[in-house]
């Protein structure tokens, strides 16, 4: 499974993930607290600079990731021009773009494993209250396993359909597809149990 971590290695890849996340939280709060045009403009420019530092490829990659926001920008600007409050519109649009770009920046420079480690660390205190951290980690791994497997099962089912039908499989395979997936879940859980499962530490 592909994650959204950038293949272009930056210095920020090496920084501790926890620190990056904390910084992101603080900056986002400040962004939403200061509705000043010049401040928002400066913040936006700083983020563009951050994206430009690792080079062109990284910048282009980053810009592409915030591109889907353009309709919101258009709606905001049109709306505020109509209500004769364009400055407010620009502040809101800039703030939105900056906040998303910054968050994306953290995602792009942090590996999936590093993120998972932060989550495990955050969850550790909750283990005492019955949160099964191992189960959560395993569930995450399972999702990564299931997503392509579901695709594969879908293909197999479509083949089975095609083998006995002249029409291609349409929406009617949704239910058999889910049935197959449910059965698969049964088998996987049994396979998991056969190799220790997730309850081993709880003496049952």
């Amino acid at each position: 499974m592909i994650s959204l971590t950038s293949p272009v290695k930056t210095r920020a890849h090496g920084w501790p993930a926890g620190g990056k996340l904390l910084a992101l939280c603080v900056v986002s709060v400040v962004l939403f607290a200061v509705p000043d045009l010049m401040f928002q403009f400066a913040a936006a420019m700083s983020v563009v600079l951050l994206y430009a530092l690792p080079g062109r490829v990284f910048l282009r990659h980053g810009l592409r990731r915030i591109w889907p926001l353009w309709p919101f920008v258009v709606v905001l600007l049109v709306w505020h021009v109509f209500t004769d409050a364009w400055a407010e519109g620009v502040v809101i649009a800039l703030r939105m773009l900056t906040a998303v770009a910054l968050a994306n920046l953290v995602t792009m420079t942090t590996s999936l494993q590093a993120m998972m480690d932060v989550v495990s660390w955050l969850l550790r205190p909750f283990a005492r209250f019955g949160v099964n951290v191992r189960a959560i980690e395993l569930a995450a791994a399972m999702v990564i396993r299931f997503t392509p497997v579901l695709g594969e099962k879908g293909t197999a089912l479509a083949l089975a359909w095609r083998a006995r039908s002249r029409r291609p499989a349409g929406w009617r395979v949704i239910v058999p597809f889910m049935v197959l997936a449910l059965d698969d879940a049964g088998h996987v859980s049994e396979a998991l149990r056969a190799r220790g499962g997730i309850e081993m530490d709880k003496k049952s």
Binding site: M1, S3, L4, T5, L24, S28, R65, I66, P68, L69, W70, P71, F72, V75, L76, W79, E88, I92, M96, A99, V100, A101, L102, A103, N104, V106, T107, L112, M115, V119, N132, A135, I136, L138, A139, A140, M142, V143, R145, F146, T147, V149, G151, I174, V175, M178, V179, A181, L182, D183, A185, G186, V188, S189, E190, L192, R193, G197, I198, E199
Partner: protein, 183 residues
């Protein structure tokens, strides 16, 4: 039902929401996609019930936050939670939970109908409440103004609620034990 099965079932539905993100989406003029993923949210509740369904959607949102491109159109990462659709994303787990909660209360009604009603209440009413709030905050608009924007989703989501009803009933027929909201 052992705990392995529990975890695997939850992971399976998380993957299912992700897989539904591969169904081609249609992005409306103001930037929120019409997505099959909200059907996935409804099914989490109608099939798995409140607790498990909510956890499946929570796991989904968690993995998106970690940077997996599981949202419709291959989006993901922390940026999702500061964008105008953040309310919907954060509302997914609550909506799935609410759907399941309603489903579990309607044990006297036929599965199709119960699942349909639960999907409307959880997957539409509750989800929209979150989505509207999120848009209002990020776009700096009033709730009424934001609410106006989401009316565009109502026809699509009505169809999805009906589908959720039909699919849940069919699953209940094929694998009665797997429809936890009923067992």
């Amino acid at each position: 039902m052992n705990s392995e099965h529990n975890v695997v079932q939850i992971a399976l539905f998380t993957a299912l929401i992700a897989a539904l993100g591969l169904v081609p989406q249609l992005t409306l003029a103001f930037g929120v996609p019409i997505t099959a993923q909200s059907l996935g949210i409804m099914l989490c509740g109608t099939v798995l019930g409140a607790r498990r369904g909510g956890l499946a959607a929570l796991l989904f949102i968690g993995l998106v936050a970690l940077g997996l491109p599981l949202l419709a159109g291959g989006r993901g990462g922390l940026g999702v939670f500061t964008s105008p659709t953040a309310g919907f994303a954060l509302g997914f787990p609550v909506a799935a939970f609410a759907t399941g909660w309603v489903m579990e209360r309607l044990s006297g009604v036929t599965v199709v109908l119960a699942a349909g009603i639960a999907a409307v209440l959880g997957g539409v009413v509750v989800l929209y409440a979150f989505g509207i709030s999120g848009m209002a905050i990020v776009l700096g608009r009033s709730l009424t103004e934001a609410a106006l924007l989401v009316t565009a989703f109502i026809p699509g989501d009505a169809v999805k609620a009906v589908l959720a009803g039909i699919i849940t009933a069919a699953l209940y027929r094929a694998r009665p034990h797997s429809v936890f909201s009923r067992s």
